[in-house]
Symmetry: C2
Amino acid sequence: VSARRPLHPVELIERTRDGDEPSGEEIAALVAHYVAGEVAPEQMSAWCMAVVFRGLSDPGTEALCQAMVESGRQIDLSALGRRVVDKHSTGGVGDKTTIALAPLVAACGVPVAKMSGRGLGHTGGTLDKLESIPGFRVALGVEEMIEQVERVGCAVIAQTADLVPADRMLYALRDVTGTVPAPALIAASVMSKKIAAGADAILLDVKVGDGAFARDLGTARELARLMRAIGEQSGRPTVTELTRMDEPLGRAVGNALEVAEAVEMLQGGGPEDLAELVLASAGRLLALSDLGVDEAEGRRRAVDAVESGQAVSALERWIDAQGGDPGLGDDPWSVLERAPVRVEVRASHAGVVQRVGALAVGRAAAALGAGRRRPGEDVDHAVGVVVEVGRGDRVARGDVLAEVHARDAAAAEHAVERLQGAIVIGDEPVAALPVLIETSG
Amino acid sequence: VSARRPLHPVELIERTRDGDEPSGEEIAALVAHYVAGEVAPEQMSAWCMAVVFRGLSDPGTEALCQAMVESGRQIDLSALGRRVVDKHSTGGVGDKTTIALAPLVAACGVPVAKMSGRGLGHTGGTLDKLESIPGFRVALGVEEMIEQVERVGCAVIAQTADLVPADRMLYALRDVTGTVPAPALIAASVMSKKIAAGADAILLDVKVGDGAFARDLGTARELARLMRAIGEQSGRPTVTELTRMDEPLGRAVGNALEVAEAVEMLQGGGPEDLAELVLASAGRLLALSDLGVDEAEGRRRAVDAVESGQAVSALERWIDAQGGDPGLGDDPWSVLERAPVRVEVRASHAGVVQRVGALAVGRAAAALGAGRRRPGEDVDHAVGVVVEVGRGDRVARGDVLAEVHARDAAAAEHAVERLQGAIVIGDEPVAALPVLIETSG
């Protein structure tokens, strides 16, 4: 009720602008009135820009998040009778972690009921990746989701329309008004979705690097700290991991390509950095769960699930339950569509790979059709890039650096050019960097 | 044409936000697309907020102003065959300068063709004041205005709808989004209207104090400097005067009350600060005109025009031409409406007047009905406040400090209370301060 009392939006904007932060109640009222159409978009965007410059205090950020949660439905997962853990990544290039992590954690006996989003810009969304599996349905209702989790241990569905409408409105507004990069706004957005979706404990993967929102460690740490503060204040244990996003995660960038790589990981293969991140995250999620294990024991159980084949079995049950062909677990490319044109990118000279630019690779894949430029656009599930080298690798002239998967030759050619610039070869001997930077919480 | 090429508003907002100011061409394109409805209000308000924090360079401000001018009709006053001078005030409490200055300058042989605005908030607009003269018409067309100036030397009309539509849109947007206080935006707004209205040379009265936008000298100087830079860049000599707005200008605050005080000044009477500002401004305007006189000679001619009665005659011809009763020049209160309730505010103790708060007096008058809270509201022409003392005056207990002119007793009572707080009496001997702080240009 207090969130709907009369308010003076201009005064709240002016005070935020001048560094005299409105109270949590006032911020909550601003959000409630915005959702109700009583605060104009031009007022909300001006307020967001003032927040970009001034930031928000922790209590202000918490009030913003809570008001966003209360703008819509809050899902009750208590029917599962378990502590429900959830995981979120702030988004990066080649991030297919969820597709491997969800069945892996389920294989270890922890239920996964996850809502996910679509991608915009150069980072693809988990839903787009899953939809590259023919027949896979993401538009499940909450009851259907809960029933599926009880039956097969795992479900990943599209966020339902009644969940956090304030976030949907604010996200669309910020996207077109240059008001995305405010840690307080990002933290409130991420946490509002996790809290409304019913998570009891949350693992957050905060990406750092040129392919992520947080380009430097300081920004990433501030964002992680804010999200932990919100989690703590709302009584939901929250752990953050900061991970490197200077290079793509794994080798594959593109929807079907990433699904295949995630399956490969569950089969015991795949790139080292992806396996490391998935296994470490699984350990942390099991430690947050009601299994009563610590992180090290959690990781051991995850490794066992991969080695025993239980992880792949969990994947097959999950894919089958949501309408896809479970043959995916045995041979991904018997199910997924391959792009018709494949062109190799080769080294023009010998040397050491100094850098594989995440942003540049992501943009090359998006330009091939793997990403979308505006909401509602279709993505091409088959196209993308597979990078064959990483920082520190020695290459000879003519070695394959990457493979482009394209719809036609012209698109492939453009991508090859972009990738020649994205993969930097020099004389300096450099070392590969671990994917995990630090963990807190 | 260049202003209508494709543009990426989000990119321009982001660059402004990050201190990488877009080019003048890009700023012009942003304005042109906003007026055409192709840049959304929520984008424009976010951009304005970024400008509040980052400011704009002089070339950026000039480009913004020029684009605003080009958004609508540009008036050609060359039919008058004279150098046309114009004057603008950034707005303050009790500012009736134009009503005395326009006929005074006309009496000295310099044509005045002026467009003016309505007030919003605690500062009334010249049009509202003039409309307290029964029958006075402000909605003249440009041709009618020019014809009147040729015939009687003077016209003050409402800004026509086709003039600077970008300013009308931006002003309304900034008013509700907390993005008013940016010197670059204010300077571009003021100068765009003067330039589009056909002025060849411009005198700007920048008010400083709690009753004005610029509360401190630094802000006022920056605003004055920016406006002179725009004037110079557009080839229109521009002079700025910084004047004090800690106390109301003159004694009368309220529409008819202010008209009467302006007439009194032309008759050779009225408060000293008002006479000083009007005569000094007249001298500067004559020096900017094609008469070929300097400021001192201009002021002498203005003094002569008052003393000889030519100033009042010019006023009478002007008022008559626009439909009002020329008897105003002889006896204002035979023409203007007096408020039915008049209550005196008396000193509760003896002492020295430390301060007559301009903002507080302005708000008291607005609350009586002299101002409007939102565009389109009617104002009550008769009501207002006449302050009888000024800073430095000694008063005994029971002396009259001010007179409230109200529509009813309840409103009068509220105003008396407000004024008791606005007029501060203390023991400190203080001196009156000159109205003019400094002149430049």
